[in-house]
């Protein structure tokens, strides 16, 4: 299953809820303002690093660049572009969007 999160973890509880409900081996894609959840040194970094032990986390690099957050992604987060986004959706049977 693929989960997408498009809201900032400092503004909404979407990321938290997503992490709580994602099963081992699931894929999580952070897009739009959701990319702030993929960064080093923030108040949520620890929680995300912990989650990386059981799920794969991806972040849409064009959204990271747009917000000036290049080189800040946590180790272990896979950076992808829009075609990677398409591939992820195609690889998984279902998509849950945590809006």
């Amino acid at each position: 299953m693929l989960h997408t999160v498009n809201k900032s973890p400092f503004d909404r509880n979407s990321l938290e809820s997503c992490l709580k409900h994602a099963k081992k081996g699931a894929a999580i894609l952070l897009i739009e303002d959701g990319i702030y959840g993929a960064l080093k040194g923030t108040a949520v970094s620890k929680k995300v690093e912990e989650a990386l032990k059981k799920v794969s986390i991806y972040a849409l690099y064009p959204d990271i660049e747009a917000r000036g957050m290049q080189d800040r992604a946590l180790d272990g987060i896979k950076l992808i572009d829009y075609s990677g986004f398409v591939d992820l959706v195609a690889e998984h049977n279902t998509v849950q969007s945590w809006l």
Binding site: F10, D33, Y36, G41, D63, E65, R67, M69
Partner: protein
Amino acid sequence: MTESTGGIDMDEGTSGVVKKFLYVNRKAPYGTIYALESLEVVLIAAAFDQDVSLAFLEDGVYQIAKGQATKGIDVKNFSPTYRALEGYDIEKLYVSKDALEARGLTEKDLLVPVTVLGAEEMADLMDQQDVVLSF
């Protein structure tokens, strides 16, 4: 004899009353339109020669992050406009200390010179205003 003012006093409305305006920015850029629209309103206020201050709280601090490159999402990068505010005599930019810390950012990560304020100082700043606009 009674005195007459001798007509309507036009001064009152046109002599340029200067009020303190504060723009409170709390949202990240690009995910929504608030950051850009706030900036548009700030520029209009500058044209009216008001005493303008900008506050960046919470995710609002991301609005003035350095290095924004929006080509990949096909949206106009409006961040250079923050650097142009100086040219409109808008130099009072205040940033929440707590917001920077929670996001692992420092003043060096910001596009423009700012004054960093603790929560109490920010509350005082808000309290001193005649008009507060929220975005």
